[in-house]
């Protein structure tokens, strides 16, 4: 164990990145779970990655504003496509999401077949390393998060299908570059699962609590035991999620008796 890495100035930016991701992903995750389309974030992230590779192939400046536009543009296009398919073939929506995911992944591999640097961009985008986050990077994401949350909680059901998919595309494209795809998936699904058996009005609170506790314990544990942070946070989220889920299940059972 080493205590010298347990330093707020080292773990602080990573923790704030986690809070920003949780802010949008906890409510989005409940929707995703309710609609039964849990793999949508993998697909959207992968399509955003495809946009980055395409921008790279066009010779655009890596890590510049243009690349962000390409990523969001691709993700929005993917989201629009999924809106259409959900309307048209709702019964196979999840299967179509899966197909879209592998297609986007393979498209990326083919575009990158001869370009090791493009591969790094893709890896950055999908397996972003949460510890490398800086406060400067967080500012635009924080602004975006505020806008998305206002839209989400302000418009409510008026957002409709297109609104949901569009907000989702923006949120995932931003968060996946900060913390990587594993953490995005975990932040989206685990808090939503953990809240399932709790009363509806409290699900959001349970989800946020699980998320914040997961990031805090995960980052501290990764500092103490000197392990890669992203993976430890995913494990911590799962553990705390199970506890919250069990508490909810227990309560529900007692109510039913």
């Amino acid at each position: 164990m080493s205590f010298d890495a347990l330093d707020l100035s080292i773990l602080g930016p990573a923790f704030f990145a986690g809070l920003l991701v949780l802010a949008t992903h906890v409510p989005l995750g409940q929707q995703v779970l309710a609609r039964g389309i849990v793999f949508i974030d993998l697909a959207i992230a992968q399509i955003a990655g495809l946009g980055v590779i395409a921008a790279d192939a066009l010779g655009w400046e890596p890590r510049g504003f243009g690349v962000q536009i390409a990523a969001v543009g691709a993700a929005l296009a993917g989201a629009l496509l999924l809106t259409f398919t959900e309307k048209r073939w709702p019964e196979v929506q999840e299967a179509l999401i899966g197909v879209l995911f592998v297609l986007a992944a393979c498209g990326g591999i083919l575009l990158l077949a001869n370009n090791p640097h493009g591969g790094e961009h893709l890896k950055d985008l999908l397996v972003g390393q949460i510890l490398w986050v800086s406060y400067g990077q967080l500012l635009p994401v924080a602004l975006l998060t505020v806008v998305l949350l206002v839209l989400w909680f302000g418009a409510g059901t008026r957002l409709g299908r297109i609104g949901f998919y569009a907000i989702f595309a923006f949120a995932v494209t931003a968060s996946v570059q900060l913390v990587g795809i594993y953490l995005v998936f975990a932040s989206l699904i685990i808090p939503a699962l953990a809240g399932r058996f709790h009363p509806a009005r409290r699900q959001l609170i349970v989800g946020y609590s699980v998320g914040v506790a997961g990031y805090a314990t995960g980052l501290s544990a990764s500092a103490l035991f000197d392990l890669p942070s992203g993976a430890v946070v995913v494990c911590a989220l799962a553990l705390i999620g199970i506890v919250a889920w069990a508490l909810g299940a227990n309560r529900k059972q007692n109510e039913n008796v």
């Binding site: 205590f3 010298d4 080292i10 773990l11 001869n114 949460i130 510890l131 990764s222 992203g230």
Partner: protein, 300 residues
């Protein structure tokens, strides 16, 4: 967390007090950690960012990396863009002014040797090519000797009180090192002109030192996984012009070279590549003892 932090910082200070004078060295690769330890003796404490089983081009972010770099007084890395994927961002996160590029605390080994394979033109289509030349300089012991001279000098600049100590240790090291190089060169004489296949283009300095002749590489371009078409091409080439062995570094995945070894009946050789890459490569001397032995064993 802050209170806990202070508490433990205090505790750490108590434990560390007798050794407070030690120069804290942050080494990117194990070979430079070993060299800093050879030269610095008990006046330095060395932290190594990567292990021999890791590809030094990439690294997983761990909090301890930032913490160690923040405390470091001297950073020793290969340079020549080997660590370009992770060192700049790590330096930014650590925010330690003493070890930023240009400061005395920032030491790049590649600045002190003659670089090989400097590309005439830089084209990203050529794969993971480094503008400054091939960065895997540690496979030639003569390069280690050159870096040792510069590093002993730098240690003296960082820690002027102990300049004599570092110079004495350096003289002692150089004496043992040159004798060892002579021994290795004698042992490795049969390797001169031997034709080899490499997995990653990681051995030009070793080839240059021992007179090995690289006839093919399994990666079609540096950093790109071997493809079936390229492997078939290599196979065809080896039918016409056979080679004696297939080299890979300890951190490379062995499947491609095993695949080729099976089809061509040429032995596949795993080289430690850096300190810790094999059981015998415990220090710099062991690294080259083992490298030369493994090459000779494949020859017979």
């Amino acid at each position: 967390m802050k209170i806990l932090n202070r508490l433990f910082a205090g505790l750490m200070l108590l434990i560390a007090l007798p050794a407070a004078a030690e120069i804290k060295v942050f080494a990117c690769e194990p070979e430079w950690a070993a060299l800093a330890q050879e030269l610095g003796g008990d006046k330095v404490s060395v932290f190594t960012a990567t292990t021999a089983r890791q590809d030094p081009h990439h690294i997983e972010a761990r909090p301890s990396l930032i913490a160690r770099l923040r405390q470091a007084e001297l950073l020793v890395c290969t340079g020549a863009e080997l660590e370009i994927d992770w060192l700049p961002v790590l330096l930014r996160q650590a925010g330690n002014a003493r070890v930023q590029p240009g400061q005395p605390g920032y030491f790049e080994a590649a600045n002190h040797v003659r670089m090989l394979e400097i590309p005439a033109r830089l084209d990203r289509a050529e794969g993971d090519v480094h503008a400054a030349g091939n960065p895997h300089i540690q496979t030639d012991p003569r390069n280690i000797g050159r870096v040792a001279t510069a590093l002993a000098q730098r240690l003296g600049e960082i820690d002027p009180e102990n300049t004599d100590y570092y110079q004495t240790r350096h003289r002692d090291f150089v004496q043992r090192w040159e004798a060892a190089i002579k021994r290795w060169e004698q042992q490795a004489a049969p390797l001169k002109g031997v034709r080899i296949v490499v997995q990653h283009k990681g051995f030009p300095y070793l080839e240059n030192w021992l007179g090995l002749r690289e006839v093919a590489a399994l990666e079609p371009k540096p950093g790109i996984e071997p493809t079936s078409a390229h492997l078939t091409e290599v196979l065809e080439q080896l039918r016409r012009q056979p080679a004696k062995m297939i080299l890979r570094a300890a951190y490379n995945d062995g499947r491609a070279s095993e695949w080729l070894a099976e089809r061509t009946k040429i032995p596949a050789v795993m080289l430690p590549f850096t300190v810790g890459g094999s059981d015998k490569a415990k220090d710099l001397f062991g690294l080259f003892d083992d490298t030369v032995q493994r090459l000779l064993r494949a020859l017979t």
